[in-house]
Amino acid sequence: MLAYIIRRMAQSALVLLIVGLVAFAMFHFVGDPIDNMLGQERTADDIERLRKQLGLDRPFVVQYFKFLENAVQGNFGMSYRQGRPVIDILLERAPATLELAAVSGILAIVFGIALGVFTAIKRKGFAANAIMSVSLIGVSLPTFLIGILLIYLFSVELGWLPSFGRGNVVDLGGWSTGFLTTSGLKALILPSITLGLYQMTLIMRLVRSEMLEVLRQDYIRFARARGLRDRNVHFRHALKNTMVPVITVIGLQLGSIIAFAIITETVFQWPGVGLLFINAIQFVDIPVMAAYLMLISVMFVGINLIVDILYFFIDPRLRVDRTGGH
């Protein structure tokens, strides 16, 4: 098991190195950092001095490792547009995105699994069929349209909920939270539904099909043949087996929630890192783009790793031999 985790970690590190290379290449080839840092009045001397100072005269590989070293320490340089250290801007905006993603993720997982199980158990019922049909439209509906639709309904027509921003936030030692004020919580509702809905649909459809598969298995028939209660058969025997394949996908979905937050944040002008990233692309603010890329990669890779480790707690077969399973 330990060997397996170590190998997975090595693979994760490799992915991060490659992403780092992409980020570094962005710095190196897209726009000249000297151009960006020195104004119009510059001498050849200035350029040479800055080149040395930034280490741009050294070999590519050396520069790459220097870049990684800086990145690990959280040093991503200055934003071209805002003229402040990128890391400061990111940290300032991270809480907004993380709170939004957390609420959406929980919504997506809780409702996705619940509806998936429901539609699997009551496969032939009217409600289950209705849910499945609606979900097909949900998959074709672009996220930003869902957001606009919700704004139209709840902000424009009904006027119940705010259509943009985070509301009032409370600063808890550098972490600004919207959980503690009424306006903050109200502001969270529409964006988190928008962000969570698509993921919820995916999770629901997956849980349903996996559960239907599990319900066909012999051990479920045997459990029924032993007269176990339906509740027990469905939630203890079937659900647990359903979750094994579902967990990987849920892990990946959580990663995409952070990425899809870009869209939701734009629709709702939510002051998170996603909106920052979109603005960075519009203004070709390379350091912000690179830092965002690195940050989100670390998150993705981290989530993947956690999912792999979670397997060991859910599936006893893996604890003994990795090759086990079917």
């Binding site: 897209v30 074709s140 672009p142 930003f144 734009t266 979109i278 960075a280 070709v284 783009m289 990669s297």
Partner: protein, 313 residues
């Protein structure tokens, strides 16, 4: 994909495809309606300059006085009537939608074609050649798959934009968009084609072609490629829906088609600004068009997948 002998293969494959497909097609009302909508929209896009009452991008044809005319209502100043109303600049919404759809479909179709060619080539190469070629291609695919394709497309768009000189950026935006969406979407094709290639390359007829001295390129193109076409077609259709949505999303976010060449996504971005002021038609019609387009292509893809290859899920 059965072991049909080489000479009869092409015609027989085509005949079977057409007859069976057509039969199941006519028996699926959803597919028929979806195909009709897609076809209608394709035609409307291609012939947009002929159908559209005005050319929304010809400043000469615009009258600012016509701004904010509601659908099917006479303008207060000029008395002009517009089927779907006008936007703030007095542009006919119906015309902008036709032109916008043209751009959305052009970007979507081009991006999918690009992804398809790239994916098929890389898939064939990695499946047929194996070794380090395969390792590099498939590892790259794995790393890329770790990230949602919309994010990959945004990054590529950002980088490409950074490389493009400022004065060309708007002009190049459409092509950059195609590149970005295409590059974010090749993995699916490569995986399927590689898988099929691995299966096909060990079959007798490929062995035979190799024995009579056919080159690798010829074998891949003449013998392996025809066998992977049906799954590729399915993926292409589903990818088209995703590409259209991706393009709309990017344009909506302001990192896609520029306002000078608005796609449906750009139009929705513009229309969102009038959500609170009551000019609902500027937003509603482009949004409905996009939804109808994406849903129809999606349904068509779903049906095609079930009809052509039930195992592909």
């Amino acid at each position: 994909m059965s072991e049909t002998p080489i000479p009869a293969q092409k015609s027989r494959l085509r005949a079977a495809l057409e007859s069976d497909l057509f039969y199941t097609f006519t028996r699926s009302p959803v597919a028929v309606v979806a195909a009709f909508v897609v076809l209608l929209m394709l035609l409307a896009s291609v012939f947009a300059p002929l159908i559209a009452p005005t050319n929304p991008f010809d400043p000469a044809s615009l009258n600012l006085m016509n701004g904010f005319t509601a659908p099917m209502a006479a303008n207060d100043f000029t008395g002009d009537v517009f089927l779907l109303g006008t936007d703030d600049q007095g542009r006919d919404v119906f015309s902008t939608i036709l032109y916008g759809m043209r751009i959305s479909l052009f970007v979507g179709v081009s991006a999918v074609l690009f992804a398809m060619v790239l994916g098929i080539t890389l898939g064939l190469l990695s499946g047929y050649l194996g070794g380090w070629v395969e390792t590099i291609i498939m590892r790259t695919a794995d790393v890329q798959l770790t990230f949602p394709s919309i994010l990959v497309a945004m990054l590529i768009f950002g980088i490409a934009k950074g490389i493009t000189p400022v004065e060309y950026r708007d002009q190049m935006a459409i092509w950059v968009l195609i590149l970005a969406i295409g590059l974010s979407d090749w993995v699916q094709f490569a995986r399927v084609v590689r898988g099929a290639t691995l299966v096909e390359k060990n079959k007798e007829y490929v062995e035979a072609a190799r024995l009579i001295g056919r080159g690798s390129g010829a074998i891949m193109l003449r013998h392996i490629l025809p066998n992977v076409l049906s799954p590729v077609l399915v993926i292409a259709t589903i990818s088209l829906a995703l590409a259209i949505i991706a393009e709309a999303t990017l344009s909506f976010l302001g990192v896609g088609a520029p306002p000078t060449q608005p796609s449906l996504g750009t139009l929705i971005r513009i229309g969102q600004g009038f959500l609170f002021s009551g000019e609902w038609w500027i937003l509603l019609f482009p949004a409905t068009t996009l939804l109808a387009l994406a849903l129809s292509v999606n349904l068509l893809g779903d049906w095609l997948r079930d009809a052509l290859n039930p195992r592909l899920r």
